[in-house]
Amino acid sequence: MLSLSPFVRPARAAAGPATTGGAAVLRGTEFSLVVAESPVNFTGAPRMATTINGSIPAPTLRWHEGDTVTLHVTNRMRVATSIHWHGIILPYQMDGVPGISFAGIAPGETFTYRFKVEQSGTFWYHSHSGMQEQTGMYGAIVIDPRDGETIRADRDHVVQLSDWTDEDPMRVLAKLKAQGDYYNFNQPTVVDFFRDASNDGMKAALDKRRMWNQMRMSPSDLGDLSATTLIYLMNGSTPAGNWTGLFGPGERVRLRFINGAANTFYDVRIPGLKLIVVQADGVNVEPVTVDEFRFGPGETYDVIVQPKEDAYTVFAQSMERSGYARGTLAVRPGLDAPVPQPDSRESLTMADMMGAMGGMAGMEHARTPGMDHAAMGHKAGMHHGGMAMDHSQHAMGGAANAAASTKVRHARTEYGASTDMRVDMPRTNLDDPGVGLRDNGRRVLTLADLHTVGGPMDPRGAEREIELHLTGNMERYSWSLDGLEFGRSTPVHLRYGERARVILHNDTMMTHPMHLHGMWSELEQPDGRFQARRHTIPVQPAQRISFLVTADALGRWAWHCHLLLHMDSGMFREVVVA
């Protein structure tokens, strides 16, 4: 299209090819990071990547809580760059969002970040400029606790998932703007229709399609991108490259999973091993044992595993099931274990489109003979639909502000061209693993399983509520909040020191990982009880969830969906704390 990304041009300071498949570990308090263009080849086709210190992922930074770290970031590219320290609490000038926290790092310049590290756990860093995160600029941050590690493990591996495209990411966006389903090759077809009609009867087949088609929405709209353009990476290795993490017999192994993908939700499991989740977004949680978890770009989970065999596959299938990232845990290099096939695709259900009401509507379909597939998906919605209603009654009788209000208030700007649907009766439950993971026979982590150790950081209740709706129009491929893209928006003002409740209400059919910079998001249950402290909160289709935020960080901050194409399309707000 009309945009030519600098990323396809030859590098000015081309050094050797980028190192992939592993990252150096840098320790200490002073770091030099050099951003440059480096050649890579993930698919057989040579491409130019944007790298930090010449590797994908970038070096793992190992910090110590309580230290003041200094990071000199030098830009050797011909375009501006930046680095954002994802989830790190720091002064806003150090947050690394060009145009909000600072001016960015111009070509040839060095910017020095300096801040005191006041937290511990697993975090990550990435470029916040243009599409550089997609083209290779991401790395892990591991911070050792000041008073010693409380999570016992014999071995520690960072497992950073990401995605790569051989296309210019801006060109990918341009294609989606021209055709929203460009990368979706799992759309309902005539062949599917006749198969359904012959299995379930003509009426059932028609019913299944009626509302979707009438509304011009697609039940197959699980992700904007797919393996058609993406290759899925684990620590910078392709599935064939098979990143391998070693362990010794009998060891407790800590895996620090980071979703550093630009656009991919991953469903992660290690067949044969239970995953004991001990940390979410760098914050310790009461250990919970699961078989599988889903996480979106920006989120991190630390899990403990206790392998007994010689080799296990770390399997991370993309949410829309077109591919996977894969690696191996093994007692020595060169081993591997069977790699599962991706699960079959599950379509979005009415509960995903209509929330609690969809679940109710689903009830009648569930009894229609032969609609097993739809019925299965509806089960979650059906049950939870009821729950959402109970809570709303409960909340009405309770004290003001004790729990999030359940009255849905759409913005007046949600009734125009920027928004393709609005949910009036959202789901509020947190115990739904999401489409494709419901009733899959495995114990799948949900938000309801996360309980931050030590409770909330601020015991105060909410002084006021801020309601934001996640909105978009898949046909135009526009993404916004309250129907307004960033360019048409005004900031959200938080009064310095206040404790505010934020309600995120998803009026789209996609899950959005919402990342607030600078301050923690303390997720709560529908009845107002504290759930977990996060920096990135995934909000499912037709879901309404709430969190409390303590506005203790003066300055301007970014707040956005961490799916890079959604963010860049305008699903982005500025926050002013003053």
């Binding site: 299209m1 009309l2 945009s3 969002v97 060009p98 145009g99 909000i100 960015g104 966006l173 021209a178 799992n186 759309q187 077809t189 005539v190 009426k203 028609l206 019913d207 009626r210 088609n213 009438q214 509304m215 011009r216 009401m357 109710m360 509507a361 009648e364 569930a366 009894r367 759409h410 913005a411 007046r412 949600e414 009734y415 125009g416 061209a417 920027s418 393709d420 609005r422 009036d424 046909e475 135009r476 309250d482 129907g483 307004l484 893209e485 960033f486 360019g487 928006s489 005004t490 900031p491 003002h493 003066l554 963010m567 860049d568 399309s569 305008g570 982005f572 500025e574 002013v576 003053a578």
Partner: protein, 322 residues
């Protein structure tokens, strides 16, 4: 705002008024095709209601079916209720370029929502065979702009013996007015047979329920000439890559134009279907068949000239975009 911005904003307001008029005209004349944002009884939930009791669980039944129909009507479109939330209510009066901690009076961060994207689509570029006669035809659409305002160029024509036999080219400002609908305002230029004609064009283009792509445009030309062009198409996926595309187009005129062999009333109607295989999303060869007929006064003119009033065309071509 400087003078230029003021002028632009005034012009935009003026054009918007006209765009609204265009919608009114086009909608009034194309109720059956375009004004379908409410569920259609024959294809909507009528069947659902009719036999709901038999197919439903006792607990839900017809009442629930009704509920879900109301839901889907409210889930899209409409206008905001009086108590709709103000999306700027949380701003505290600050903007992206004013208030504490702002980096400067000029906003620095601009995302893709403020970037223009462009595409050129050749929906049809084809060889046409009809009654032993061969010709070529094209139907192209170019778009350049942001999400809600674009410059749109539409070009359609037939080339016979190396000469443009009939061509319609439109340049339009396309403005999004609803989730699936754009209004379009601009000019149309006809060339080919007879003298060229220039029209003011006002129309709507969008996606009707059940994925029907609609393009309805009203035209006003010199000497009180008026016209209306209605175009609808649908895409049926046999597989992910094999796609059937039925298509219907009709042209109506308010006044005869003998020099261009056009009579008033319904002038011509084309119904066709093309079967394409998408090697990629952007490149798909196809074959198709079309029936084209001339009607009323236009048919009379054709008969007088010794031409056919209807014909069957076999087409083969490529659909591509970049």
């Amino acid at each position: 705002m400087n003078d230029f911005e003021v002028r632009v904003s005034t012009a935009v307001k003026y054009l918007r008024m006209h765009a609204l008029a265009a919608v009114a005209i086009a909608l009034a004349t194309t109720v059956a095709m375009a004004a379908t944002d409410a569920p259609q009884p024959e294809a909507g939930h009528a069947g659902h209601h009719g036999d709901a009791p038999a197919a439903s669980a006792p607990a839900s039944g017809p009442a629930m079916g009704h509920g879900d129909m109301q839901m889907d009507m409210k889930m899209q479109g409409g206008s905001p209720p009086p108590d709709a939330r103000d999306p700027h209510a949380y701003s505290g009066g600050y903007t992206l370029q004013s208030g504490p901690y702002v980096l400067g009076s000029e906003r620095q961060l601009r995302l893709a929502d403020e970037k223009a994207f462009g595409t050129v689509l050749f929906d049809n570029l084809e060889a046409v065979r009809s009654h032993g006669n061969s010709s070529a035809a094209y139907d192209a659409l170019a778009r350049l702009g942001r999400d809600y305002d674009k410059l749109v160029i539409k070009a359609e024509g037939e080339v016979d013996d190396g000469k443009v036999h009939e061509a319609r080219t439109e340049a339009l400002w396309s403005h999004a007015v609803a989730t699936f609908w754009d209004t379009q305002l601009g000019v149309r230029q006809d060339s080919g047979v007879g003298p060229d004609r220039t029209w003011l064009a006002l129309g709507v283009q969008g996606l009707a329920p059940y994925w029907f792509e609609i393009d309805a445009t009203a035209y006003v030309g010199d000497g009180g000439r008026t016209g209306l062009r209605l175009d609808a198409e649908y895409e049926l996926l046999i597989t992910q890559k094999l796609i059937v595309q039925p298509h219907i187009e009709a042209n109506l005129f308010g006044k005869s134009d003998d020099e261009r062999e056009i009579g008033k009333g319904l002038s011509d109607l084309t119904v066709g279907v093309r079967l394409r295989y998408e090697f990629t999303r952007q490149f798909a060869p196809y074959v198709g068949i079309e029936w084209a007929g001339r009607f009323g006064d236009t048919a009379d003119i054709a008969r007088t000239a010794g031409e056919r009033t209807h014909e069957t065309r076999y087409v083969a071509g490529v659909r591509f975009w970049f």
